[in-house]
């Protein structure tokens, strides 16, 4: 564990500027639910033909929180997630990230604005090495073009060195630096999940959005993931977590929203939500309350 914690310290130093407020005071306030929200989404509606997939869904994520979004199958979690990240265009809704409104109309603009996501079914760049995958994540925060690459300008070389160093740090941070030169698709399932998280972190996100990161993981891998996510939060990042695994959500999240049939049926602290009648009905059916 000592290795991991020094890694974390290194990455934290790197992030110091970004997280100075977040890690300490900000987080304490965040757990209490006050202060400026990192992500504030209101009144999202999305209709697919005759199906109202989302009706008036909203949430507010405080800085430094892990925010859970749960619900039974087909509740609209992934739809909501795809709306926030620009994959689907909503019929209505307002979106504010870190005090600045953003339009989730183009996926790459959302990443630029500061939301990095992972995918429910892992989507790595399989033929590239783990390191290259993370280096791709730096794309949005770097600027060299064809000219720099062809003429190997000083600026380009410096930038490349920086990209490589940061990517290695992130691989170390998630604990898979020993596989840096392995092709991504040769990694084990759990490591691929970690790699996807490292790649997302490489975009310097304000909000890390994870779509069912524990799907398909065994119990030990889930424990590892949980520790990793807690680390990321403790280093000042804000996380939105969509998850099926209620146990993971309840143990990890600071706040939870429950969706069912595209509607928000509960919102609050995990313990309160767990006792909510509507939630129990949604999961187990009426009559179990």
């Amino acid at each position: 564990m000592s290795g991991a914690s020094t890694d974390r310290a290194g990455a934290r130093a790197d992030d110091a500027a970004a997280t100075a407020a977040g890690a300490g005071a900000g987080r304490a306030a965040a757990r209490g639910g006050s202060g400026q929200a990192m992500l504030s989404v209101k009144g999202v509606n999305k209709r697919f033909g005759g199906l109202q997939a989302l009706s008036d869904v909203g949430l507010e994520i405080q800085r430094g929180q892990i925010y859970g979004l749960i619900g039974p199958n087909g509740a609209g979690k992934t739809t909501f997630f795809n709306v926030i990240t620009g994959l689907y265009t909503p019929d209505s809704g307002s979106f504010v990230l870190d005090g600045a409104p953003y339009e989730p109309t183009a996926v790459h603009m959302v990443a630029r604005a500061g939301i990095a996501r992972t995918f429910q079914n892992i989507r790595l760049f399989g033929e590239m090495t783990a390191l290259e995958n993370v280096m791709v994540g730096r794309h949005v925060r770097t600027r060299s073009g064809v000219w720099g690459a062809v003429f190997k300008t000083r600026a380009e070389r410096n930038e490349e060195t920086g990209i490589r160093r940061r990517a290695l740090e992130l691989l170390e941070y998630v604990g898979i630096v020993q596989y840096a030169d392995f092709q991504a698709r040769t990694l084990s399932y759990g490591d691929q999940r970690r790699l996807e998280i490292a790649r997302a972190l490489a975009t310097d996100p304000k909000l890390l959005a994870l779509d069912e990161p524990a799907a398909g993981m065994n119990a030990t891998e889930k424990l590892g993931l949980r520790a990793l996510l807690a680390n990321i939060r403790d280093d000042g990042k804000t996380i939105l977590l969509i998850e099926h695994d209620v146990k993971l959500v309840m143990g990890l999240c600071d706040r939870v929203t429950v969706l069912d049939y595209g509607k928000q049926i509960a919102e609050g602290l995990p313990a309160d939500v767990q006792r909510s009648k509507a939630v129990i009905e949604a999961y187990l059916g009426a009559g179990h309350g």
Binding site: V107, A111, T142, V146, A149, F182, T186, L187, G190, E221
Partner: protein
């Protein structure tokens, strides 16, 4: 250097020696081959043109994973651009151009190469723009159509204004001139005579080396990684903040620019162009060079280009005498045999080397089957 001899990465001395040896071989090659006859030097020249074409297409197909079946169109754009800018054709047909250039229309190579690259890149972006949302089969069909459109334009733009001279093509195209050296004539250096074909060889070699350097450097850059990311998973690439529209257009434009340069050189080399040189079959051959050589791997693509050009060409010379020696008479026409063997070779390669003759080296395939991380017991414990 590093990417030229990856095995020698840890031994810079050996890498330099290997590079020097390769340079000597490449420099002496046309002289040695020249002794066997000019036809062989001509083959070398064409092989280099095809290497440039294949490397250009490799950016689009190999790096960015966009199947382009109309690549020859950019070759045509470059070739016709040079043909129009360096032949009497336009002056014969347009009085005002003749008045503009009383000494005849000639263009320097220093002007033509960048212009050819730029013009072809523009056409590349023009093709790219409407196809941005297409993938796979659909993209292939649209690009194929684009290639045909360009060829048909070239074939029919002789009326009402005679711009391309239609199927007859444009002739009397200037050879390349650099300084006082006319590449159409042989050059004497200290009593040693270099044929025109050999001069062109060195020119093409320089350009090819340039194209190789650009290819390799691009691959190993921010843009190159973005291309590969799009090839591997476009949605994920977008989610990483890559503006896939711009990056794809850039791939089309960069790839096309190599084709444009190669086309301009083709035109100067042949001193004649006609639409016949830019048929669909050419596009298919160039795609085959990239695919059979090893998509996305520069040395593989070079090998593919050389083999796929050289084998059918040598069969042209060897097929007849070989058959006569074996059967006493010509059984199959050389042209038919060429295509037959070509097809057979392709089937064979696809069966036995599906990722190409010389694919990019695979990194770190883990024979032990790594599971979990093992780095931090608390984080990623071993599975077993």
């Amino acid at each position: 250097m590093r990417s030229l001899f990856p095995q020698l990465a840890n031994n810079p001395k050996a890498a330099y020696a290997a590079t020097a040896a390769l340079a000597v071989v490449l420099a002496v090659l046309p002289l040695a081959v020249g002794m066997a006859g000019n036809a062989w030097v001509r083959m070398l020249d064409f092989a280099l043109l095809y290497v440039m074409l294949a490397l250009g297409l490799n950016i689009v197909v190999g790096y960015a994973g966009l199947l382009d079946l109309g690549y020859v169109a950019f070759y045509a754009v470059g070739a016709y651009m040079y043909a129009l800018l360096a032949s009497p054709h336009l002056m014969e047909n347009f009085e005002w151009i003749a008045e503009l250039f009383p000494n005849g229309l000639h263009s320097s190579i220093w002007f033509v190469v960048p212009l050819g690259a730029g013009l072809a890149a523009t056409f590349g972006a023009l093709l790219g723009a409407p196809t941005l949302r297409l993938r796979g089969d659909y993209l292939a069909i649209v690009t194929l159509g684009f290639g045909e459109i360009i060829r048909i334009f070239l074939n029919n733009l002789n009326a009402p204004l005679n711009i391309t001279n239609g199927p007859q093509g444009i002739s009397n195209i200037d050879p390349v001139r650099i300084g006082g050296v006319n590449f159409a004539k042989s050059l004497e250096i200290g009593g040693f005579e270099l044929q025109s074909l050999q001069l062109y060889y060195y020119l093409f070699l320089v350009l090819t080396v340039g194209v190789i350097i650009v290819s390799v450097r691009l691959q190993d850059s921010r843009i190159g990684r973005a291309w590969v990311a799009i090839r591997e998973d476009e949605t994920a690439a977008k989610a990483m903040g890559i503006n896939t529209r711009n990056v794809k257009l850039l791939a089309f434009a960069m790839g096309a620019s190599f084709g444009g340069v190669s086309g301009a050189m083709f035109s100067a080399f042949q001193s004649f162009v006609s639409p016949e040189s830019f048929i669909l079959m050419e596009s298919i051959v160039i795609v085959s060079m990239v695919v059979l050589g090893g998509m996305g791997h520069v040395p593989g693509v070079i090998l593919g280009a050389i083999l796929l050009y050289a084998i059918p060409e040598s069969l042209r010379y060897a097929a007849k005498p070989l058959q006569e020696a074996i059967f006493g008479t010509e059984v199959v026409a050389p042209e038919a045999l060429r295509m037959l063997l070509f097809g057979l070779a392709m089937v064979g390669i696809m069966l036995y080397r599906p990722s190409g003759l010389w694919p990019a080296p695979k990194h770190g395939i883990n024979p032990a089957g790594n599971r979990g991380t093992g780095a931090a017991p608390g984080l990623g414990a071993q599975k077993s």
